[in-house]
Subunit: 317 residues, 2 copies
């Protein structure tokens, strides 16, 4: 018995054949071509399904579901893609389109951040957990919530927008147009923004040396590396970042009191250099004497494929 | 069939006999005397139960439960009061103490903000709702959360601390010692603080006239009244308050997507003058095209009694 999961991104479409142990046993990746796929994406995905089955030497009867993780908002019935800017899909009845192309399999649709949270339920950071939250710190801040051991899609079915909870309403403007969202302070991008501001205001330390004074060469890893090497400006930026992130984590704890908070995305690769001060700061701010384990998400780039595949396991949502 | 609910506060102990329709048919209130009750509070409550039954002319067999709402943190088993500062109760096995005094009735213990949320489920703002959040804007900011039509006590049983979610981490220090909590920006107290700061910085408008220049005479209602009369300083303070509150509400919506958010406490008495701009501001900041109804809590001072009483209805938690 196998399940197929798709992680459909603005750059690539990645498909994986997932076995009963939750391992990806076969993969198929294609570049996402916005123009070529306009109106023909469902057909393309169906082709990938049949290729994946054929190339894996299994019978199609062994595939029990096909899940689609999409970087965008999904309607409460999980049928339409409301807005997926990177895919240029807007109010598209995507589920029906793909289901029509794949009549032999139940097709399921999910937001990619939700898919990543579902993936962690299967052998990942959320194993055994009933209440858990995933925060993904990348270009933006995404996340998924598990309540009662199942994916939480919101009381009205709108899903969650963890990155756009308020954090610092006197602070930075968020790309969404609202001041002070978690995303404006905890995305990898906010490390870059802060470093560029430091350079612009005349900072000439390690950070400046490493990027040759070129703001375009600043990335989140560079800021973390310089902080690790005790560059004062980078250390300050990273310290402020950890302070903001710990407040975001405390907000989630004070509302949901989850057993686990998993952190994924590029910034989580800083490892203990991030997690140690983060846990310490949460401990200082949290009202509860015990609180959620705070740990790295287990699944990185595979989270979308795995989560989409596991949607077919009807214990999940 | 009746239920008894207690709202035990630092000033008064209020008990009510609640009928099957959820109406308080009889009441008994005593001042809370911290010194006199030390170690004897359970006995006092039991006495009140028997007096209430006797004076109401019912038989004690008609009372199916006794609920206790306490202003403080409760352990995950709902047996101990961990900290209730106003009652001077700390790590007290309060449930067992009261149950021992009232062997004929099942005794149940709950936090008062949780009780208020439970009360709204019964003919109040949360009737028919599966996911709902109560925010109480008073001296502090309290709140209760309903998920799946039941009181949410947190994934690990610690309850919720809505007032101490982060909102403005560059802003005001909260009384809890952490900068920028919702409570530091959305409590009635924060209207008073902002008005006193305005007076201290030389503001001499309507606000100044109404309090005779005496900061001690400033209260939240005065600020609201002056804002209503278009005093520029008061209008600015109230506008900032609504902006902060709408961000707090959006945080809750983006995580839980509830069907209803009810707002209680002193500030909610401002009515449409609060709710109209609040809804408008939430609409601007919220990602979802439709979102929670935002409305006044139905039960004011009776919320604790009603919620504690309804704990006995086993559909609730």
């Amino acid at each position: 018995m196998y399940r197929i999961g798709f992680d459909i991104g603005g750059t690539n479409i990645a498909a994986g054949l997932v076995d009963e142990k939750g391992a990806i046993v076969s993969r198929f990746t294609l570049p996402f071509e916005k123009e070529a796929y306009r109106g023909a994406l469902a057909e393309k995905l169906a082709g990938m399904v049949y290729s994946l089955i054929e190339n894996s030497g299994i019978r199609k009867e062994e595939v029990v579901s096909v899940g689609l993780a999409v970087p965008g908002s999904i309607d409460p019935n999980a049928e339409c893609v409301l807005d997926a800017y990177n895919l240029d899909l807007h109010n598209v009845p995507f589920w029906a389109e793909v289901q029509a192309q794949l009549p032999e399999f139940p097709v399921l649709l999910i937001n990619d951040a939700d898919a990543a949270a579902v993936a962690e339920l299967y052998g990942g950071a959320f194993s055994e957990a009933k209440t858990a939250v995933l925060l993904t710190l990348g270009t933006g801040v995404g996340g998924g919530v598990i309540i009662g051991g199942r994916l939480w899609r919101g009381g009205m079915g709108h899903g969650v927008e963890l990155g756009h909870m308020a954090l610092d309403i006197s602070g930075r403007m968020c790309s969404c147009g609202v001041r002070g969202c978690i995303e404006a302070n905890c995305a990898a991008t906010s490390l870059i923004t802060a470093a560029r501001e430091a350079l612009a205001s005349g900072e000439r330390g390690l950070l400046y040396g490493r990027c040759g004074g070129d703001p375009a060469r600043v990335n989140a890893k560079l800021v973390v590396d310089c902080a690790r090497e005790n560059d004062p400006a980078a250390a300050q930026i990273f310290g402020d970042y950890v302070n903001a992130l710990s407040s975001a984590v405390v907000s989630v704890i004070h509302l949901l009191d989850p057993e686990v908070i998993a952190i994924g995305g590029g910034v989580s690769l800083a490892g203990d250099f991030l997690f140690d001060p983060l846990r310490e700061s949460v401990k200082k701010k949290c009202f509860f004497d015990t609180f959620a384990r705070i740990e790295p998400a287990r699944y990185g780039n595979d989270a979308g494929i795995l989560g989409a595949a596991m949607l077919g396991a009807d214990t999940v949502i």
